[in-house]
């Protein structure tokens, strides 16, 4: 049965449309009010570079949230702490007399991330400490620890990262451009990557459609597939051309793409991703289906910590120095990106693509309002409202579905016998509460409900 309809497509992609709309709105406003071109290559590049950490942290946060709306509040502080450690070992200072080589520094940073993630995962999954409490502890402790290291090591309580000429340094790995050229010159390798990417998108879309049809599965109409892959290709080409005019493909973009593609595949195509969703969707059902809920929780937080290290390195290298206010509110940015991107606050549903759209939408609002000269406080107010609107929209659209659904079972219930006694009571009760706790009845909002029953 073919369920394709334009209305469904629009409904599914509301956030994408909102993203495009606000991008163009701000571009027009910036041009009219401040005579600034928001599509200027350097502005486009900085949009991505500034939000790089959101994409990376958002991927980790998505995995945590899938397990039942669990979050990690400690990521911002850990970013600061890792930055401090990297700075500490990178060059001579009051504590360290012998700076380590770049690979060693990287190894230490990743080692700390793995150790922290393992401890955190253990506490949450096996000791059953509620995630937000365990990570709140990290939020406080690592900010303090990071600041302490920086103030002890340096008089300015900040450590600039060293640049080595002709030798591998952190700037080479986490910043800069691929095959850098001058500003305004079209960077050919960058454009080539863009064309290649666009070609791959078009090929995969068409190939998967034709293989679906060959096997007799339902598929979207051809014109729609072509239109969709053209749009995606256009976006890819837009960005790569802007990058190309701004000196070349930023290395950060490669990191972002690598993380997004890996996590996109994990969530969509592997059993691991399926396990994460199931634990969040119904922890008890997942346990009885032979899934090890505790292990899933453990890996969610271990994974988050490792991604935090990558984000920390990117951020520290971008600012060129480790300082004590690095990473402030990063955890909230990552959570907001997920929520705006349609990741369920109760777990069980969410996609990398959604998170990317959410992160970019917030980034565009940030940048656009900044460019037209809106005060920082007002930017925060607007971001808060956007977050709220996204959640209200999600809940209302779910309610609409539920209202429609409720008509159906009544017919089927007609013959129900045993359930007659219990079911209608629940139905009536939920009808009463619907306006208040519409979500609560669908998915238990208790984050560790699954773990609570995990005891053997």
């Amino acid at each position: 049965m073919n369920t394709f309809s334009m209305k469904n497509v629009l409904k599914k992609n509301v956030m994408t449309i909102a993203l495009f709309a606000s991008y163009f709105l701000f571009a027009v406003l910036a041009l009219v009010l401040k005579n600034t071109d928001m599509f200027d290559p350097s502005i486009v590049t900085s949009l991505i570079e500034q939000n790089a950490y959101v994409y990376i942290l958002g991927s980790g946060m998505l995995m945590c949230m899938l397990t039942g709306g669990n979050i990690d509040l400690s990521v911002g502080s850990v970013v600061c702490f890792i930055g401090a450690v990297v700075g500490l070992f990178s060059l001579e200072n009051k504590i360290i007399k012998m700076p380590l080589s770049t690979p060693m520094v990287l190894l230490i940073a990743i080692g700390i991330g793995v150790a922290y993630g393992a401890i955190l995962g253990f506490l949450i999954a096996y000791v059953r400490i509620p995630p937000w409490i365990a990570t709140l502890a990290g939020y406080l402790a690592f900010r303090g620890l990071g600041t302490q290291i920086l103030t002890t090591a340096s008089d300015t309580s900040a450590i600039s990262l060293p640049k080595f000429d002709g030798q591998l340094d952190l700037f080479d790995i986490f910043a800069g451009r691929l095959f850098e050229t001058d500003w305004g010159v079209l960077n050919i390798p960058c454009v080539a990557i863009g064309v290649l990417g666009a070609a791959v998108v078009v090929f995969i879309s068409l190939y998967s459609r034709s293989s679906k049809i060959k096997k007799g599965y339902k598929a979207d109409p051809e014109w729609f597939v072509i239109l969709k892959s053209c749009l995606i290709s256009a976006v890819i080409l837009f960005f790569t051309i802007k990058f190309a005019l701004d000196g070349g493909m930023p290395v950060v973009v490669l990191w972002i793409l690598a993380v997004l593609i890996i996590y996109g595949i994990i969530t969509e195509k592997t059993t691991i991703g399926r396990h994460f969703m199931t634990v969040g969707g119904n922890a008890e059902a997942s346990r009885l289906s032979g899934i090890n809920n505790k292990r899933v929780m453990f890996f969610a937080y271990l994974n988050m910590a490792v991604l935090t290290v990558i984000a920390a390195l990117i951020v520290t290298v971008r600012t060129g120095a480790a300082n004590s206010f690095a990473g402030q509110e990063y955890e909230l940015d990552a959570i907001a990106a997920c929520i705006v991107g349609g990741v369920s606050a109760y777990g069980g549903a969410g996609t990398i693509v959604g998170m990317v759209i959410g992160a970019t939408l917030i980034g565009v609002i940030n940048q656009g309002m900044f460019l037209i000269g809106v005060d920082q406080n007002w930017i925060k107010i607007v971001k808060g409202l956007v977050l709220l609107a996204a959640v209200v929209f999600e809940i209302l659209s779910k309610q609409g579905k539920k209202a429609k659904k409720e008509v159906k079972p009544k017919k089927v219930n007609a013959e129900a016998e045993g359930e007659a006694e219990a079911e209608p009571a629940a139905e009536e009760a939920s009808a009463l509460e619907e306006t208040v706790v519409s979500e609560g009845t669908e998915a238990a909002p208790v984050p560790d409900a699954g773990l609570a029953t995990n005891e053997t």
Binding site: T3, G281, G290, N413, A416
Partner: protein, 528 residues
């Protein structure tokens, strides 16, 4: 004749499409203990919910005449003001508040703005003495046992100046000593306070011990009311009223199914409650099932059937589990559901929404959930194969859905049950434990589920079917175990089982006792 305190006249309560109560009449005299008995889903709780205003006036037909006047209760407060207090099966106490605070929750003592704690605790102690509880009213609820908590509930009801107390399965979570104490308390309150009580219970021995009158409810109608003053009420007599239903030809026949060797054997299986660690929920149970055989486990709610099944299935319930589990003659230890699935077990839960299905996921995802390895290579899911599998089971089980991408939450109960079955069939087990496989689904879907069960038996699988519907157990099983209060109390061939002799096993009394036992022994011999 004593004054009639409560009269419910021709109460009819309809839920969309279903008549839960059909022209029910109930008369309760002042100062009597009146018992309501009936099978699960017969309508007892619905009737009490109508009485206490949970189903407000106007949602049902008929009259409630209480204390001589027609009442219109719009919520629980209305009925409580009249002195009708209901104590639900699940206790409604807050664990981290004191006994006193709990007793006057929503009924706080003192002025409008300020709680008078001295008065609260003094009053609480007074009512606690009345129910014979010696603990201080300042004890936290979590620090007293379930038996005492039940007493606190009664004291709480008394504090509301209850005249008519409704107890819904008050002893279902109590052990024998506590149950007896509670029943004696009921008799004492009746004698000393003149309290009128309605008790809902599945335990017939308790009912005949405590009740003055017994009303039998079956399929939404009151069948008869027996008065212990006029006649000796035997448990067999109550049972007759409860199950006097005809078994029609609702069950498809299995032909030419060869019953093979013993596939699964459970010996001396004992399980303790995970929270109340001194309580046995499964007590020295031994059962077995052969390939191609459908074994029924019958018991009333709370008999320990689900606990037995889940503890066998990778110890997913209970603590202190002891006993032997043999699969195909080999002793195995299954420490997690994962291990159980790998060993060839499947547990199809009674609570498909709670712990069976992920309602927010599609049919496709739910179907492959217990056997993702079957559709994936090196953790990468083969989506085409997954789709084919889901499609295959939708067709095989005739699940009604527009596509396998449909969210399971949008399906009707019967179709959800089919998805749940599909999920476990795809896991390809040798032994399927089906816990109430037809609960809450319509007759047509039930028939289809029965056909699926027959197909499974034909394919040489072993099926353990837990059910609280007698006709279903008798109609579907080859052999039946009867379970009551954590123990297996009987075993018989389905061909020789009747509703009466199964029920007789549960109450342990009947003229047919010897007959049933003889059958059990014979079946035992046959096994050896």
């Amino acid at each position: 004749m004593a004054k009639v305190l409560l009269e419910m006249k021709s109460i009819t309560k309809t839920f969309p499409g279903v008549k839960a109560l059909d022209n029910v009449n109930l008369q309760v005299e002042e100062g009597e203990i009146h018992a309501l008995v009936g099978e699960n889903g017969a309508g007892k709780s619905t009737l009490m919910n109508v009485l206490s205003g949970i189903y407000p006036f106007g949602t049902y037909e008929g009259d409630i005449v209480y204390d001589g006047e027609v009442c219109e209760f719009h919520n629980i407060k209305d009925s409580e003001r009249k002195g009708i207090v209901i104590i639900h099966q699940e206790l409604a106490l807050v664990p981290y508040l004191t006994i006193g605070e709990n007793m006057f929750l929503g009924n706080e003592q003192g002025s409008k703005w300020c709680i008078d704690w001295n008065k609260t605790y003094a009053e609480a102690d007074k009512y606690l003495a009345m129910v014979g509880l010696t603990d201080s009213s300042k004890t936290l609820i979590k620090d007293i046992g379930t038996g005492k908590q039940q007493l606190v509930e009664i004291a709480k009801a008394l504090a509301k100046h209850a005249k008519l107390l409704i107890l819904d399965e008050p002893t279902s979570s109590l052990n024998e000593t506590d149950s007896r104490a509670l029943l004696d308390l009921m008799k004492k309150l009746q004698r000393e306070e003149g309290l009128t009580m309605i008790i809902i219970s599945h335990k017939l021995n308790e009912v005949s011990y405590v009740a003055d009158k017994i009303t039998v409810v079956r399929d939404g109608s009151t069948i008869e009311t027996m008065d212990s003053k006029n006649q000796e009420i035997s448990e067999a007599r109550i049972i007759k009223g409860m199950v006097g239903r005809e078994i029609t030809d609702r069950f498809p026949k299995r032909h030419d199914v060869e019953i093979g060797d013993v596939m699964m054997e459970v010996d001396n299986w004992t399980v303790y409650h995970p929270e109340f660690s001194e309580r046995k929920v499964v007590d020295d149970v031994s059962i077995n099932v052969r390939s191609g055989e459908v074994v029924g486990i019958y018991g009333l709610m709370g008999a320990g059937r689900t606990e037995l099944a889940m503890s066998i299935f990778g110890r997913s319930y209970g603590i202190g589990i002891s006993g032997d589990l043999k699969l195909k003659g080999k002793k195995v230890t299954l420490k997690s559901p994962k291990k159980a699935i790998e060993a060839g077990l499947a547990y199809v839960t009674e609570d498909r929404k709670g712990n069976g299905l992920v309602l927010s996921n599609s049919i496709l995802r739910n179907t492959t959930l217990a056997n993702l390895a079957g559709v994936s290579r090196a953790t990468f899911i083969d989506k085409d194969k997954e789709y084919e599998v889901a499609q295959e089971y939708v067709e095989k089980l005739r699940t009604k859905t527009p596509s396998v991408d449909q969210l399971v939450g949008n399906l009707s109960g019967g179709n959800q049950q089919k998805v749940l079955l599909a999920k476990w069939m795809f896991a390809d087990p040798d032994v399927l434990i089906l816990d109430e496989p037809t609960r809450g689904i319509d007759v047509g879907a039930k028939y289809e589920i029965y056909c699926i069960i027959n197909d499974l038996a034909k394919a040489g699988k072993s099926v353990v079917m837990i059910s609280s519907e007698l006709p279903e157990v008798i109609g579907m099983s080859d052999r039946i175990y009867i379970m009551n209060q954590a123990k297996i109390v009987g075993e018989m061939k389905a061909s020789e089982a009747t509703q009466e002799n199964i029920m007789a096993c549960i109450v342990g009394v009947s003229a047919e006792k010897n007959y049933a036992d003889g059958e059990g022994r014979e079946a035992n011999n046959g096994r050896k």
